[in-house]
């Protein structure tokens, strides 16, 4: 085992001397995660909408994405590597598949939880199915979709650290170099930025999620006006906090 007692000054010193390389790893990491999650968003949201079509369809879609996420991340990446070869593309595709489940599931849950009386109002007022979906269901599902995105991003940032095992880049390079060379400094230099990245993504996307929440929007609007509407706004916000999805990895 490498010596775990690392001097903080040594760490900063090491990091500073290798800042060029660290920045490069960091950017590669962000790039793989962003691409993978964006792809999952592009594919997952329509899949979530498709789940609304029928019970039967939703079962199929959700079991497939569920299985994809239950696969151990290393196994998934290795299987993909056998098919796609080594490199960042394999990692990005892996992250994409891995992120699908939280996004599809939360989109579906978000669309489903819209109260039936609101849908009744939407129909009764003369919205066609498309308008019911885009003007009522989707806006009200946004906070849920954001939860899915947030979970997906945090998981992807973690999974991306094993990218070097299938020939990928990113902060994992530094991590594995540290493990191979029994160098604690390098392990920390890989792990700490990855952890920070996950925390920042979590907080940032959480803030975005609250901005998209209709209940929260109203509370903000009223506090700006200085009226006494905050209590009702708060109660509504409490009610509307999306549930944490069951499968997190």
């Amino acid at each position: 085992m490498p010596d775990t007692s690392v001097n903080f000054v040594d760490f900063v010193d090491y990091f500073w001397r290798n800042r060029g390389l660290m920045g490069e790893y960091f950017l590669q990491h962000v790039q793989m995660v962003t691409l993978g999650v964006l792809l999952a968003l592009l594919v997952g949201v329509p899949l979530g909408v498709l789940c609304m079509k029928s019970r039967w369809l939703s079962r199929i879609i959700l079991s497939i994405t569920g299985i994809l996420q239950v696969l151990p991340s290393l196994a998934m990446l290795v299987l993909l590597m056998l098919w796609m070869g080594l490199g960042n593309t394999t990692v990005t595709v892996g992250l994409f598949l891995y992120s699908l489940n939280p996004i599809v599931r939360n989109t579906y849950v978000g669309l489903q939880q819209v109260s039936s009386s609101l849908i009744d109002a939407a129909r009764g007022v003369g919205m066609n199915r498309w308008q019911q979906l885009w003007r009522v269901r989707v806006p009200l599902a946004l906070p849920y979709m954001m939860t899915g995105l947030r979970v997906a991003a945090v998981i992807a940032i973690g999974v991306a650290t094993i990218a070097p095992l299938v020939g990928g880049d990113g902060l994992g390079r530094e991590l594995y170099a540290g493990i191979n060379g029994q160098n604690s400094l390098r392990i920390y230099a890989g792990a700490i930025p990855a952890a920070l990245l996950a925390i920042v993504a979590d907080i940032g996307l959480g803030a975005l999620q609250r901005r998209l929440d209709p209940a929260h929007r109203s509370a903000r609007a009223s506090s700006k006006r200085g009226s006494g509407g905050s209590s009702s706004g708060k109660a509504a916000a409490d009610k509307a906090v999306p549930p944490v999805p069951k499968a997190q990895g």
């Binding site: 609101l118 109002a121 009764g124 007022v125 209709p214 009702s232």
Partner: protein
């Protein structure tokens, strides 16, 4: 006009929800569908805008079968209000109100003018409420927005499914009045679902009573009260009354009040502090059976008659209603008597008391500057006021009757001199009931609510 011909509804699970319904909803009238929960009121109503399709039979609007109209277009041409408000929480009030105009692609300018106009109609200041979100409004305000949203594109037909049953009694009363007032101006064809007989009697032009998927009776409120088709109708009307009868109304002090109130007044409050603020009223177009029903509900023997703006038009007592009761075509307007005495808001109480005593009145109406009926000074309310002011001893004295009961019986009609009232016609009525015990209001509506839930 909306016509149902032999309409049946069989739900997918085989439940026969509507059985051969034949109905007519007349143009410009408010038809109230009423009946116990699960009897098929909503199913009937939702067929009109094709949210539910009949299993057999036909539904026509102004002669054309609704199946020939595209459902989405049909719904945009029919206003729709539901119990749970149904405002979209992610849209501002303005967006919510303009939802149908937006679907119909009105110009932004036209929409925003319409929104402001509509919000004004129900007393919500546009500049204050336009940009708020539904969660920032009270339940009553939200449902007011729900009502004007249904009016936005000026539909001829409006469907309302128990729109006020989730509201507190005060807001409900207010909204019922709002809707009655709007209907007076707009003359829409309204189909209104409720399970509350009081509500139905208050607002309906026609009442359709349903039970187990069938129409039991369909008629004007007055005729339903006069000629209930069967025991079910009778019990549906009567049951509510029984519930209300349990509210004990104390009103004995009224007729005992002497004429020397003025001397015991310490400071002189204005009539506004003492008056009963929600006196029982009726409207000139109401039938006589409805008037009696209102009196029974409110435990009073006379009613003031007001128009939609609450301008005082006259008064009716149980006696002049009973005299003409047999004539079914007569309305309150035909039998009401003019109000001779009233006081304006702000008048010192002593003046009102002098009126009460000097003319042997049982009560005096209080009107505001524009002549709107805002309250009632009764002997009971004066006594209560004094009781709060005076030491117990003097109150006890007031409690002792020193009037001959015969006299009190005579001047039962508000604002009338005793000699002119036909006291002999209904001798069985106790003079004790001559007080409008309007304080019982809150309890009234509360118990009504409990009875329903």
């Amino acid at each position: 006009m909306i016509q149902f011909q032999n309409v049946n509804k069989m739900y997918d699970d085989g439940f026969h929800a509507l059985k051969n319904i034949n109905l007519e909803f007349r143009k410009g009238e408010m038809t109230v569908l009423i009946g116990p929960s699960g009897c098929g009121k909503s199913t009937t109503m939702r067929m009109i805008n094709r949210l539910v399709s009949p299993s057999s039979g036909s539904i026509k609007i102004d002669g054309s079968d609704i199946l020939s109209i595209d459902p989405v277009e049909l719904r945009r041409s029919i206003g729709y209000v539901i119990q749970s408000v149904g405002l979209f929480p992610h849209m501002t009030i303005a967006r919510n109100v303009a939802i149908v105009p937006r679907l119909k692609r009105w110009t932004a300018d036209k929409m925003s003018r319409r929104v402001d106009e509509l919000l004004d109609m129900v007393g919500l200041k546009p500049e204050l409420y336009r940009d708020r979100y539904p969660s920032e409004l009270s339940g009553g305000q939200q449902q007011r927005v729900g009502v004007v949203r249904a009016l936005a594109a000026d539909p001829d037909i409006i469907l309302m499914d128990e729109p006020f049953s989730a509201l507190d009694p005060m807001s409900r009363e207010q909204l019922q009045e709002d809707v009655a007032r709007l209907q007076q101006e707009l003359h829409k064809t309204i189909v209104f679902v409720t399970h509350d007989m009081d509500e139905a009697l208050k607002i309906a032009d026609r009442i359709v009573l349903m039970k187990d998927g069938e129409v039991v009776q369909s008629d004007t409120p007055d005729r339903i009260l006069r000629r209930p088709a069967n025991d079910f109708v009778r019990s549906f009307i009567g049951q509510k009354r029984l519930d209300q009868e349990q509210i004990i109304v104390a009103s004995a002090q009224d007729r005992e009040a002497g004429s020397d109130f003025g001397s015991v007044m310490q400071d002189t409050p204005s009539v506004d502090e003492v008056m009963i603020t929600q006196p029982a009223v009726t409207y000139p177009s109401r039938g006589l059976a409805e008037a009696i029903s209102t009196m029974e509900r409110r435990k009073v023997d006379s009613l003031y008659v007001v128009d939609r703006q609450r301008k005082l038009l006259g008064s009716v007592s149980i006696y002049n209603v009973m005299d003409s009761y047999r004539d079914e075509d007569k309305t309150v307007a035909d039998v009401m008597l003019p109000v001779r005495y009233s006081v304006v808001s702000g008048t010192p109480l002593t003046q009102a008391v002098e009126l009460l005593a000097g003319h042997r009145l049982h009560n005096v109406a209080v009107v505001d500057e524009s002549g709107r009926f805002i309250g009632l000074i009764t002997r009971g309310s004066v006594v209560r006021h004094l009781a709060e002011q005076l030491p117990m001893m003097e109150y006890d004295q007031l409690d002792n009757p020193n009037d001959e009961p015969g006299q009190a019986r005579k001047d039962i009609t508000p604002g009338m001199e005793p000699d002119s009232s036909p006291s002999s016609s209904v001798p069985s009525l106790e003079p004790a009931s001559s007080v409008r015990e309007n304080d019982s209001d809150d309890r009234d509506s509360k118990s009504g609510r409990e009875a329903r839930s």
